[in-house]
Each structure stands twice: as structure tokens, then as C-alpha cells.
């Protein structure tokens, strides 16, 4: 009975949301978006500060943002402050998890000895995954992906090692340092931009030709830091979850 009532309520609500959204002719229908009506228009032509008519891959150079990946240009340049906030969200939630679960005992939930295949396999795969992760965040301005997926990959690699190698578990605290280091450096880069050019998180490095590896100014640097930070934070969250309650 309760379920039916809730379904009816949500049905009515859904109906109103639908009609509220779609009865508005200004709400562009799915797929009919005209980018000229949106701020994204300028992101495509990279002409927020300088007017550009057309940006060409492999030819245009010294643009306001050198990223070939538009999403990356938004994430790290145009709306870089959001990204800083995003990193902070991850930082604070890993900290929260640590505060909540970190006081628990430091042992794995399931005591086991990793078998041979896991140990050898992990050691073999670890560099590959890590390398892929690093590749992804270094090429974040050229290909899909970036600091967050790359960081997650590194975290998964580390997790694998964590499961496989008991000695490795003792060294986990160094990730806290990496996290702190990466975060602080990110902010410091921003402040450096503020000091040199007057804008926080300004792209103070020259941008090269679009499509080159070293073409995107601070983007790769930021993405490396974000990747490290995300990797260490996710690792921290997972290791905290693996701890068990100690009876006091």
C-alpha cells in the first residue's frame, strides 16, 4: 500500500517535472542544442581572452589554453577552481573515512596469505596498470581521461599490491605524504600564478602547438598532481575500509 502511494506520488511529481521542463520552449530539446547560445561556444574556439576564428589541430599555437581535449581545457583551465574544489571533496571525504574508521585496528578483515599466482601476477601487472594510469593523466589534454581516471587506475594498482604483498601494507602511510604533497603543490601552483600574473591558477607557462605533448601549459603538471592525489586518496579510503573493529 505504502509502495503504491509512493509510486503514485512520484508519478505525479515526475509528470510535473517533465511538463515543467519540456513545456518551456527555451529548454532546448535533446540534441537540438545550439552552442552559440551557451558559454561553451567560446571554449570551442578558445577565444575567451583572445579572439580566434578557428582552432586547428597541429597548427594553432600559443592559444589561451593549449589542450586539444576541450573537456580538459574546461576542467583544468576555464573552470580550474571547480577542480580544486573537487580534489578537496575527495580529500575531505578520505579524511572523514580515516577519522571514522582510522581508529580501528590495522588488520585486514580476512586473514589470509596471498597465493602464488596473486603475488606474481600482481607484481607483473602492477607496473603495467601504473604506467597506463600515468600515461592517461599525462596525456589528459590530448586524449579522453585525465587526472581522475589515471589516479583511479594507480589506486587500483596499489590496491592489487596491497592485497598481494603483506610487507607493502606497512608502507601505506607514505601515501598520506604524497597526498599532502600533491595537494599543497596544486595550491602553490595556483598561488604562483596569482603572484606572477595576478590570477589564481593562471596558466603561466607558454602553450605550444595543439596536439603536442608539451603544449598545454600547466595542464599536465596539474593532472599529474591530481592523479597522484586521487590515487593516494582512493587508496587511503579503501585501506581504511579494509580495517577491522578491535574490541576494546
Amino acid at each position: 500500500m505504502k509502495r503504491i502511494a509512493v509510486i503514485i506520488l512520484l508519478g505525479v511529481l515526475g509528470f510535473f517535472i517533465f511538463s515543467g521542463i519540456y513545456s518551456n520552449e527555451a529548454f532546448t530539446e535533446f540534441g537540438n542544442v545550439d552552442l552559440n547560445n551557451r558559454v561553451s561556444n567560446k571554449f570551442i574556439t578558445k577565444s575567451v581572452t583572445d579572439e580566434n576564428d578557428i582552432v586547428e589541430f597541429g597548427k594553432s599555437s600559443n592559444l589561451e589554453t593549449g589542450s586539444a581535449n576541450y573537456v580538459t581545457s574546461i576542467v583544468v583551465n576555464y573552470r580550474s577552481f571547480d577542480t580544486l574544489g573537487e580534489v578537496t571533496v575527495l580529500f575531505i571525504s578520505s579524511l572523514g573515512v580515516a577519522l571514522l574508521l582510522g581508529t580501528l585496528g590495522g588488520k585486514l578483515t580476512h586473514k589470509y596469505r596471498a597465493n602464488f599466482i596473486l603475488r606474481v601476477g600482481a607484481k607483473t601487472i602492477f607496473p603495467l596498470i601504473a604506467l597506463t594510469g600515468i600515461y592517461i593523466f599525462i596525456h589528459g589534454h590530448l586524449t579522453p581521461g585525465g587526472g581522475f581516471p589515471g589516479g583511479s587506475m594507480i589506486a587500483s594498482a596499489v590496491l592489487l599490491l596491497y592485497l598481494a604483498d603483506e610487507n607493502f601494507r606497512a608502507k601505506m602511510s607514505s601515501f598520506k605524504l604524497a597526498e599532502s604533497f600533491a595537494g599543497s603543490l596544486y595550491v602553490l601552483i595556483g598561488i604562483f600564478g596569482l603572484l606572477t600574473s595576478g590570477y589564481f591558477l593562471n596558466n603561466f607557462m607558454n602553450t605550444g602547438v595543439i596536439g603536442d605533448l608539451f603544449s598545454a601549459g600547466i595542464i599536465p603538471i596539474v593532472y599529474v598532481l591530481v592523479g597522484l592525489k586521487v590515487g593516494s586518496e582512493l587508496t587511503g579510503i579503501i585501506t581504511d575500509f579494509l580495517k577491522v573493529e578491535v574490541d576494546e
Binding site: 506520488l9 511529481l13 510535473f16
Partner: protein
């Protein structure tokens, strides 16, 4: 001395008194006497300040004749009551704060009476309320303070609404200017009149706002009850005056329906005043606690005062202003005598006392005089003022109101007699055999106040001349007084003759009393029934259930207290409902609310 200096002095004297009390409690208490007396003298001698205007910070003041008159009463009551403060310092939980709040509330009342704009008026009004609110719970009841504050804020919030409303229409806060536009807008004027006067009604204790008086007056510290009853209640009269005197009520209501020649708006309030007289009288008769008894008599007297002020004419208004003074000194004196008794006996219940005349004769005389004055019996001041009020009412043909006034006078005989007989006369309970009479310092204010009651009863002209000047200053005909003869439309009163007659009667009865053989005194324990010894002789004291047969007549009366109590309970239940409806540890409850509300809002706001 300028009065801005007076107000500053009064504020600083409060702070100073606090500091003095911190070092020496007794000294601090004496300082309240000193400071309030100095203020009284400055105010009394500074009558030539009337008409002056001055400002402090953002507050503006204007000294008016009526403001001066009210201030004088207020400071007089405060300074007289202050004589009792030294004896209560050890008994009160926060003596220094008490002294501070005592003088601070006094300063605020004076500021209130001199206010030139409505914001200043409201500021001081609220300051008086909160500063006195913190004194009340030092006495016997915590609940009293809450009821007092709540009822007061019902009034003050209504008044604030009126003030803001008037400001939004007229664009000024100046008391004399702000209300002027109402003269031509009867409907708005009706609204403003009722909201603005509410604060006054709550303060005077007009039905149905009267319930705080017995609670707060009856339970406040004994040294503060006189101030509450004699002093602070009169602030309400001031607001009532503003609502008919400054707010052009009669002019605005000139086109509205009239009852007995009075606009129905004003008549309605007069009826409330009449109800207060009846309720106050009936309830006073029932009371066993003297303080509550006097508090209810204040309700009744508040009714007289309100009716008189609402008339705004030559006779009744003068009577009312005079009654404000008479009631102030008489009820303050009555409360002071009770305080003096409670100082020795620790109780104020009539049934627990008796025979106090043997121990405290001065208190007895003072109490006798004041309560006679309260009841409006000649030759005291209260008689003159009540006579004026009744005369005024009768001349206008306001039968119902006048009937209530008569009823109040007759009923007052009953409640006057109860404490007189039960508390002062009769047998003395054995446990009070060894109590001492009240101290000299306590006797000073009691005697002063009592003699004032007598003096102004016999020579009312000294008071009525001042009142006449006030009447002239606000544009109504002054009361006609020639020597000690007061002339009204259908009656003449020569107070000297009245006093002489009563004095003659008093002498005769004194002679009879002296000539007749003395009655034998019987101790309270000197009693037995059927050879059985009585262990609880108090129950056989005649003060116990004094008016039992009479009270039975209205035992199951409806009561505002019960109604408001129910209201409070309902509010609390509503709060619990709010709590259980909206606040849970389950997210689903709130999410459901969010979705339901969203659906509702979209239902009304989305074009489909």
C-alpha cells in the same frame, strides 16, 4: 536641572548602585534610597522644565505636564519602597543585580513618560518590562515571571505593530504628529486604536489580560510588589491616555456608531474596564493571600482608571488622574505593610496570621488607611477620586459602567474587611508571640504614604490644581475646584466637611469604645470541644475560609487563567506535533516531505 541630566543621572545611579552593592550589599541598598530620593527632588523642583525638548543618543524626549505628573508618582513609589530594600538584601539571591534593575527600571519609566517619539516610548516600555521581569522570579514564583513577560509582550508587540503601521502611513515617529492623519480615517483609526492601546491594557491588567497581576504582584519579592502594583501598572494608564488623548480617538470616531453618546470603540474598552472592576472585586474577595488580594484590587482599580481616562472629559478624566495617584500610594502602602509583616512572620497568608495589631500597630493603621483609600471610602483620597469618576459617569448616563463602579465599591468593603479582620485583628497565633514590631526605617515610608492618603483626601485641591493644569495643557476644561469644594455638573463635594463628619464619627466611636467595658482576650490555644483538646487551632481561627458561604456563589466561575493555561498546553502539543512530523532519524521522512511539497508547488506553478 535639565531633565536629560536627570535621566542620565538615573541610569548612572543604577550602575553606581550595582558597583556599591558589589562591595557592600547594605550600602548598595541604602544607595537605592538615596538615589531615588535625589531623583524625586530633582524632578519635583524641575517643574519648570515642562515644555522642554532634548535628545539622548537616538532617543528624543519632550517634558509634558502629564509626563511630569506620572514620573512624580513613579519616583515617589520607587523611593518610598526603596526604604525596604536594605532588609531584603540577605534574602534575595542576586542583591546587586536587584538594586541595579530596581533603579534601572525606574530610569526607564521616567524615559517612557518623557518620550517624544514612539520609538523612544517603545524602547523604554520594553526596557521596563524586561528589567522588571528579572526581578519577579527572585520571589516566590518562576512561572509568574514568564506569564508576566508573555502577557506584556502580547501587549507590546501589538503596540509595536501599531507604531510601525502609523509610521508607514504618516512617515513620522513624533508622538504629536504621527497620529494626526487618523482624524479623518475612522477605519484605520479603529485598528490603530485597538492595537496601540493593547500594551496599556495588559499593563493595567484589564480583563482578559489581568491574570499576570495576582501572579506577579503576589509572588514578586515583597519589596517589589509595591512598585509593580503602585508604579508600573500606571504605565498602562499612560498608554491609555496616549490612545485617546494624543491619538485623536474622539475626533476620528465622531462618525462611528455610538452607545450612550460614546463611540462604540471606546465604549467597548469601557465595558472591559467595567468587567475588570467586577472580576477584580469578586476575585479579591476569594483570596487568602493578602498580596494576591491587593493585586486583584489593583485589577478593579485599574478598571476605574481606564474608564476615567477613556472619557477624556472634565470630571472623569480628572478623577482618573487623581485615582492614579491615590491608588499608587495606597496600594504601595498596603503592600509595604504586608512586606513589613512578612519580614517578621515569613508569610502573607491571612489564615496563617491574626492579631498582628498587637505586634505591629503602625502597620495596622497604615494598612487601614490605605485599604480604605483603595476601597474608596471617605475621608481618604481614594474616595474623592472614585467620587469624581462615578459623578462623571452618572452625568453622562453610562448606567452599566456606573453600576459596575458601584458594585466595585460595595464589593471592596468585603475584601477590605477580610485582611483587616483576619490578619490584624483576632487572636495572635502562638508562634508569633515573640515577633518584634517593624523597624523605624520601614515605618518612614509607610507613614508618609498613609498620611498622603489622608492629606489628599481632606485637601484634594493641591492635587486637583495640578491635574487641572494638565487638563488645560491637553486642551480639555480643567476640573472646577474652589477651596476644598469640587464642583461637578450634578454634585458638589466639600472634602473638609466630609472629613469633619467622619472625624466626628470617629471620635464618637472612640468614646464608646473607651467607655464600654473591655472585652476579654482569648488566646488562640484557649479552646476545646467536647472535652477534646484541639491540636490544629488555626483551623478554628475565624480568618480561615473567611467568606466561604459567599465564595460558594461563584465557585465554578470560568477563568481566563484556565483558558490561557489550556492555550499554552495546546501550543506545546503543537510543538510536539511539529517535532514528530518533521524530525526523525530516517531520511525517508524528510525526503517524503520534500517530494510532497515539491509536487504541491509544481501543481500550482507549472503550466501543463
Amino acid at each position: 536641572m535639565d531633565f536629560n541630566a536627570l535621566i542620565l543621572f538615573m541610569v548612572f545611579s543604577a550602575v553606581l548602585s550595582y558597583l556599591v552593592s558589589k562591595s557592600n550589599i547594605k550600602l548598595g541598598a541604602y544607595s537605592t534610597i538615596l538615589f531615588s530620593l535625589i531623583s524625586l527632588i530633582i524632578l519635583f523642583l524641575g517643574r519648570n522644565n515642562i515644555g522642554n525638548e532634548f535628545s539622548l543618543l537616538y532617543m528624543n524626549f519632550r517634558v509634558t505636564a502629564i509626563g511630569w505628573y506620572f514620573s512624580l508618582i513613579m519616583i515617589l513609589i520607587y523611593s518610598m519602597t526603596a526604604f525596604f530594600n536594605p532588609y531584603w538584601m540577605e534574602k534575595i539571591l542576586y542583591p546587586s543585580s536587584y538594586n541595579f534593575l530596581y533603579l534601572f527600571s525606574l530610569a526607564a519609566t521616567v524615559g517612557l513618560f518623557f518620550a517624544a517619539d514612539l520609538i523612544t516610548l517603545f524602547i523604554f516600555w520594553e526596557v521596563v518590562v524586561w528589567s522588571s521581569t528579572f526581578i519577579v522570579p527572585l520571589g516566590k514564583s518562576r512561572k509568574a515571571a514568564v506569564v508576566y513577560f508573555t502577557i506584556s509582550s502580547i501587549g507590546s508587540m501589538a503596540t509595536l505593530f501599531a507604531i510601525m503601521f502609523v509610521y508607514s502611513k504618516s512617515g513620522t515617529f513624533d508622538i504629536n504628529e504621527a497620529f494626526k492623519f487618523l482624524a479623518s480615517e475612522p477605519l484605520t483609526a479603529t485598528f490603530v486604536f485597538f492595537t496601540f492601546i493593547t500594551a496599556g491594557l495588559t499593563k493595567i491588567g484589564i480583563f482578559p489580560f489581568h491574570i499576570w497581576l495576582p501572579l506577579a504582584h503576589g509572588n514578586a519579592p515583597h519589596t517589589f510588589s509595591p512598585v509593580l502594583s503602585g508604579g508600573l501598572v500606571k504605565m498602562g494608564a499612560f498608554i491609555a491616555y496616549l490612545s485617546v488623548g494624543i491619538l485623536p480617538a474622539y475626533k476620528a470616531f465622531s462618525t462611528s456608531m455610538t452607545i450612550m453618546g460614546i463611540p462604540f470603540q471606546i465604549y467597548l474598552l469601557m465595558v472591559l474596564g467595567a468587567i475588570s472592576i467586577v472580576v477584580g472585586t469578586l476575585m479579591a474577595i476569594k483570596q487568602d493571600d493578602v498580596k494576591k488580594l491587593i493585586a486583584y484590587s489593583s485589577v478593579a482599580n485599574g478598571g476605574y482608571i481606564l474608564i476615567g481616562i477613556l472619557m477624556m472629559d472634565q470630571v472623569t478624566f480628572a478623577g482618573s488622574l487623581m485615582h492614579i495617584f491615590n491608588h499608587a500610594i495606597a496600594s504601595a502602602a498596603a503592600f509595604l505593610t504586608i512586606a513589613a509583616i512578612a519580614h517578621r512572620t515569613k508569610t502573607t497568608k491571612i489564615s496563617e496570621l491574626g492579631g498582628m495589631i498587637h505586634k505591629m500597630p503602625v502597620s495596622y493603621v497604615v494598612y487601614l488607611i490605605s485599604i480604605i483609600s483603595l476601597a474608596g471610602i471617605p475621608p481618604m483620597g481614594g474616595f474623592v477620586s472614585k467620587w469624581l469618576i462615578v459623578q462623571g459617569l452618572a452625568s453622562k448616563g453610562l448606567i452599566f459602567i456606573a453600576f459596575a463602579a458601584f458594585f466595585g465599591s460595595i464589593g471592596s468593603f468585603l475584601y477590605v474587611f477580610r485582611p483587616l479582620a483576619g490578619l490584624f485583628l483576632g487572636q495572635l497565633a502562638p508562634k508569633y508571640e515573640n515577633i518584634k514590631p517593624s523597624t523605624l526605617v520601614m515605618k518612614i515610608p509607610m507613614v508618609i504614604l498613609a498620611s498622603m492618603s489622608v492629606f489628599f483626601g481632606i485637601f484634594p485641591k493641591y492635587l486637583l490644581e495640578t491635574i487641572g493644569e494638565i487638563q488645560t495643557s491637553i486642551g480639555i476644561d480643567p476640573i472646577m475646584i474652589n477651596g476644598d469644594t469640587i464642583t461637578t455638573i450634578n454634585g458638589v463635594l466639600n472634602t473638609n466637611k466630609v472629613a469633619a463628619i467622619f472625624g466626628f464619627g470617629f471620635v464618637i466611636s472612640l468614646m464608646i469604645f473607651l467607655v464600654l467595658p473591655k472585652s476579654r482576650k482569648v488566646g488562640l490555644m484557649d479552646t476545646y470541644t467536647s472535652a477534646e483538646f484541639i491540636y490544629t487551632p488555626e483551623l478554628y481561627h475565624y480568618a480561615n475560609s473567611f467568606y466561604a458561604p459567599f465564595e460558594r456563589l461563584y465557585k465554578n466561575h470560568p477563568s481566563v487563567e484556565k483558558f490561557l493555561g489550556k492555550f499554552a498546553v495546546k501550543t506545546e502539543e503543537l510543538g510536539i506535533l511539529v517535532n514528530s512530523l518533521f524530525f526523525s532519524h530516517k531520511p525517508s521522512v524528510t525526503v517524503l516531505w520534500v517530494m510532497a511539497i515539491a509536487t504541491l508547488i509544481f501543481l500550482g506553478g507549472v503550466d501543463i
